[in-house]
């Protein structure tokens, strides 16, 4: 059971939070102009790295605010959290893929 640091409310138990998957996925500017494949990538495809991963979390049972966290998917350890608009707390995933 993790202790997750909500950027506003501070450390709270994992059960107060909702996981939102990969962070930094922008809604396409003009979906109508995307190919079916590109649209499918936006809707369904997510990174799945083994290592640091930038994710969305929402402090559901608390302040109801969404924030970004970088978490290591091997150890589950949170490397940092950030409010929306703030830079990512830690450099994240694609190290292995760029």
């Amino acid at each position: 059971m993790q202790l997750i640091h909500c950027p506003w409310c501070g450390p709270r138990e994992e059960v107060e939070f909702h996981y939102g998957g990969q962070a930094e996925l922008a809604y396409p500017e003009r979906p109508a102009e995307l190919s079916d494949q590109d649209w499918a990538e936006y809707v369904f495809y997510r990174d799945n790295p083994k290592g640091p991963f930038a994710e969305r979390w929402s402090h559901n049972a608390g302040c109801r605010r969404w924030f970004t966290a970088v978490r290591d998917t091997r150890t589950y350890r949170f490397l940092g959290t950030a409010k929306p608009g703030e830079p990512l707390p830690v450099t994240q995933q694609r190290e292995a893929r760029v």
Partner: protein, 412 residues
């Protein structure tokens, strides 16, 4: 002193004196299967048996069948909602029914039936829908009322005054359990006999690529050339495909399970409840084997959060009051690879000689022989077997999903 006369598990068969060689990898193989779990081994088995392809290596980064195969709760059933799912799982179930003979290995396949409980009006609708679909697909299935549920599994609390009373259940009599290690080792022994090299402690770290073909794999035990690559790496598929620059809509999540101590038989079947999130069977030696839902976040850690276990225990005691003083003996987690529609991805990749098999979520074990059969066919013919064709990657582009969430959000 005590009145037990037959020892629990005394009738469990011994393992054979020889299982497999531990060969050094060769320079080249016709087919390299990445992942020495149930699916990799079954694929190798049917490649040899059905297609005569034996110049094959199965590369396993740890110990053979040490991933989800060693961590699952061994439930086998085919009562899936959609035709596409029902077809592959039923194909698997039929193979399970003959697998002990095929492998010459006592896999302890025990067809004790599965009850999927319904607690709400919507559960009942979903259950009837699935039962009726199963019947039309030739799969044994029935809808049972609470009294019949009680008859099949007397320890279920079917009284009306619990928080979510049991309103009935679907029942598939042919469903069952098998002993996972025995299954893996049965396949492994056959595969080894056929001349396939099982290579453990051999982690694939990269690929050598020539245009749209992969010519070899880089491993912790050296480079290995290959004609065809077959990915059977479950939760690690994304990591491997990332090396090839191929994206898949897979997410890896921890999935926990647990066992109790050995108990005198009380639980003759398998019970699953989606609404209260638990499923239970009693294994051959008497331990209660239980699982729950997946942990919400991505993880490769083979462990999960304890509140999931606590919730699962609450559900178990709610449904089976006599379990109150059974004891949690050991808990563990596997890494399940989940797709957006809760159905697998099997078939082509952008590389012409690389085939993928992943995304089985909680259904991997039960599909083992069926997938092995169909994936071997796919590799041998270069074209998806009809049973796996609906599970191509391009369904996410066309929208032709096989969405098993709705009526079968039932994990496992």
């Amino acid at each position: 002193m005590n009145d037990v006369t037959t020892a629990p598990g005394a009738d469990l068969p011994e393992h054979p004196d020889f299982l497999w060689r531990n060969p050094e990898p060769k320079k080249n193989y016709d087919v390299v299967i990445i992942g020495g779990g149930g699916h990799g081994l079954a694929t190798a088995h049917y490649l040899a048996k059905n297609h005569g392809i034996t110049n094959v290596a199965v590369l396993e980064k740890g110990w053979l069948a040490g991933g989800n195969m060693a961590r699952n709760t061994t439930l086998i059933r085919s009562n899936y909602l959609w035709d596409e799912s029902a077809a592959i799982y039923e194909h698997a179930l039929k193979l399970w029914e003959g697998l002990e003979d095929d492998l010459g290995y006592p896999i302890l396949f025990s067809q004790r039936g599965v009850l999927n409980l319904a607690h709400t009006e919507q559960d009942i609708r979903d259950s009837v829908r699935r039962v009726e679909a199963n019947k039309l697909n030739g799969i044994d299935a029935e809808w049972l009322g609470p009294d019949e549920v009680k008859r099949i599994c007397p320890i279920i609390n079917t009284s009306g005054d619990i928080r979510y009373p049991v309103r009935g259940a679907t029942y598939q009599p042919r469903a069952g359990i098998a002993k996972h290690d025995y299954v893996a080792w049965g396949f492994a022994r056959r595969v080894d006999e056929a001349g396939v090299d099982l290579i453990q402690d051999c982690e694939v770290t990269g690929f050598t690529v020539d245009g749209d073909r992969v010519t070899g794999v880089r491993t912790s035990r050296g480079d290995i050339g290959c004609g065809t690559v077959a990915l059977c790496a479950a939760g690690h598929t994304s990591v491997l495909l990332d090396e090839l620059g191929v994206r898949t809509p897979l997410q890896s999540h921890p999935l926990q399970a647990l066992v109790s101590e050995l108990l005198e038989p009380v639980h003759p079947t398998i019970v699953m409840s989606n609404a209260v999130h638990v499923y239970v069977s009693q294994a051959h030696k008497g331990e209660l084997v239980m699982g729950a839902g997946v942990d919400s976040y991505n993880g490769y850690g083979q462990r999960g959060a304890f509140h999931i276990i606590e919730r699962q225990m609450a559900a178990a005691v709610e449904l089976f009051p006599v379990f109150a003083r059974a004891h949690l003996l050991r808990s563990w987690a596997g890494i399940v690879d989940v797709t957006p529609d809760a159905s697998p991805i099997v078939g082509h990749t952008p590389y012409e000689n690389v085939f993928v098999n992943a995304g089985w979520g909680t259904g991997g074990f039960k599909a083992t022989p069926g997938l092995g059969w169909c994936f071997a066919h796919t590799i041998a013919h270069g074209q998806p077997h009809p049973y796996v064709a609906p599970f191509s990657l391009d369904r996410f582009t066309t929208g032709a999903l096989v969405d098993e969430h709705g009526a079968a959000a039932v994990a496992h």
